[in-house]
Amino acid sequence: MESSPFKARRSFANAAIRAVRLISPLLLLLVLVLPAGSKTTRTAVATPAPNFKLPTQSGTVSLEELRGKVVLVDFWASWCGPCRRSFPWMSDVAEHNAANGFVVVAINLDKSRESADAFLRELSPSFIVAFDPAGKTAEAYNVATMPSSYLVGRDGRVVYSHAGFDARDTETLEKKIKETIAQ
């Protein structure tokens, strides 16, 4: 049985080698898969935005019918924290730019309408809210993160797509909106 420093050092060296052997192939795998993980959304810019026709709180909304306007299509759910933070900003930007033909359509992906309604009662948005519980529209837009937003130009093409929401993102988003409206 070992008691000398020699054996202790050797058992540590063995252990270290084993640890490295265990970790390095996995680290390699990590390096290989990482680029795949860093993609945000897959709906490419300049492609036509997929059409949708969804129920709203008071009727229906269709992207085709909004052709000619600049539309911010946003995907959200009541259980998503950043979505909660995005609502006041979206209400703000919708009100400010409504006169210039700018519309926000926030598509809800909650499975339960009750959860979505409770959220809406609390946040009282001043933009169009549509419901897509089956997630078909989210699928069409290749939504990869919650929330995701797509800025659609007057010609129906995707001008800009954004994943997630953070206070730091609002500046970029507002700039893009202003640019698209001006076109």
């Binding site: 049985m1 070992e2 058992s11 252990a15 265990l22 898969v33 795949a36 997630g164």
Partner: protein, 417 residues
């Protein structure tokens, strides 16, 4: 300290656990509507029947910053009293033992001899978690604790990466501890009669590595696999424990020798954990396989069922089963006249044993206060299961594996500032 109360280097573990625990908060939850500062307090009342009693208040403050960083600081105080087995064998007559700190303990005939002790420990832990970009997270932690005969300082570092639309999380981390052992009355020479001691501090260094993968298996199921490896070097012996010296010429032990353990220990463990969402309830379960270079193998199965009521109240029953094999050098007694072993211990915690736990947690609010109270009660039953050899004299006729019943009560209080 792991010696008498057996809670010493557990603070190092707590460092790992606490640091690791912080990293368990997914980036999403951290970024979501969590309050700025959260204060959590817990007080543990732990009582083993006729053995160790512990009271441990802990307070932790966690502060969330706007950019997703989290700083957490924890202060813990441990008050331990009671008696713990000395490692000596029971005899047919009452025994009186004086501990190194001067406490006198009397043991009735036929009972496992125990020594009384008293200790208090203070510990400070701090952790800092930083998100790096959208998919990485890092945590740095430190730990410091001190008691009468033990000191521990440690650091940990961990990185995690979320991949495949956050379906897969990979974590790698490591920790280093510098511990120091300075027994009351000096450090006895191992496997001796204990009269000769060396003075000064004994050092113990611990390195640990962790690698884990967790995967979203379905809309309601999370599965994790973690491998960890720990290497300890230095003074790993229990200076207060003894081993009875028996002789075929006498029915009772003729003396005792001090505990002596190797100067290195390599531990490995593999943990599989599962979290399953059942709409209102959540089922947590885990299985851990452990083995170390001292010959100990263990299996742990753990399950909790959390049933949420309204307003954040919940009930959570819990069960745990644990079984370990004995260390290679574990022995109930050493026979005089034979070639002495290089290492030996009679510490029941390194022997073959089984632990069973049944517990219930109840969390509730009082009136309209958002602060959450948590009360957790556990019944723990532990018993050795090793077979004692027949050459121990009269000691073989006594119960060398008595079952120890323990009640543990934790009262927690959490609020936001």
């Amino acid at each position: 300290m792991q010696l008498e109360g057996g809670t010493g280097s557990s603070l190092r573990e707590r460092l790992n656990k606490a640091a690791l625990a912080l990293l368990l908060v997914p980036a999403a939850a951290a970024a979501a509507d969590l309050p700025a500062t959260q204060i959590d307090t817990t007080t543990l009342y732990y009582g083993e029947q006729d053995r160790v009693q512990v009271v441990e208040p802990v307070v932790r403050a966690t502060r969330l910053f706007g950019d997703g960083q989290i700083l957490s600081v924890q202060l813990a105080v441990d008050l331990i009293t009671g008696a713990s087995p000395s490692g000596a064998l029971p005899t047919g007559v009452p025994q009186t033992i004086t501990s190194p700190s001067g406490k006198v303990s009397s043991t009735p005939a036929g009972a496992i001899p125990t020594t009384k002790f008293q200790d208090h420990r203070g510990g400070l832990d701090a952790d800092w978690q930083t998100p790096i970009g959208k998919y990485f997270n890092s945590t740095l932690g430190m730990h410091a604790s001190r008691e009468k005969d033990y000191q521990s300082l440690g650091v940990t570092a961990k990185v995690s990466a979320e991949m495949f639309q956050r379906s897969l999380t990979v974590t790698a981390g490591g920790g280093y501890n510098w511990d120091s052992v300075f027994p009351v009355g000096g450090t006895p020479i191992g496997l001796s009669d204990g009269t000769e001691v060396t003075n000064g501090k004994n050092s113990k260094k611990v390195e640990s590595f962790l690698f884990g993968v967790s995967r979203v298996m379905s809309r309601r199921w999370l599965l994790g696999l973690d491998a960890s490896r720990t290497l300890e070097r230095g003074y790993l012996t229990e200076p207060y424990k003894v081993i009875s010296l028996v002789s075929f010429r006498s029915d009772s032990p003729i003396g005792q020798l001090t505990d002596n353990r190797p100067a290195s220990r390599a531990r490995s463990s593999l943990l599989a954990s599962s979290v399953y969402h059942l709409d209102q309830d959540i089922l947590y379960s885990s299985y851990r396989y452990y083995k170390d270079s001292w010959g100990i193998r263990s299996n742990t199965v753990d399950a909790s069922y959390r049933h949420d009521l309204d307003d954040g109240w919940y009930l959570e029953p819990h069960a745990r089963y644990y079984h370990q094999t004995a260390a290679d050098f574990f022995t109930f007694g050493i026979v005089a006249g034979l070639a002495p072993p290089e290492y030996a211990t009679s510490d029941y915690r390194l022997g073959q044993l089984t632990t069973m736990t049944l517990g219930l947690t109840f969390a509730f609010h009082v009136e309209d206060s958002p602060a959450l109270w948590t009360v957790r009660a556990d019944y723990i039953r532990q018993a050795g299961s090793g077979t004692a050899p027949e050459n121990l004299g009269s000691a073989s006729t006594f119960d060398l594996n008595p079952a120890i019943n323990t009640i543990s009560l934790v009262v927690g209080y959490s609020f936001n500032m």
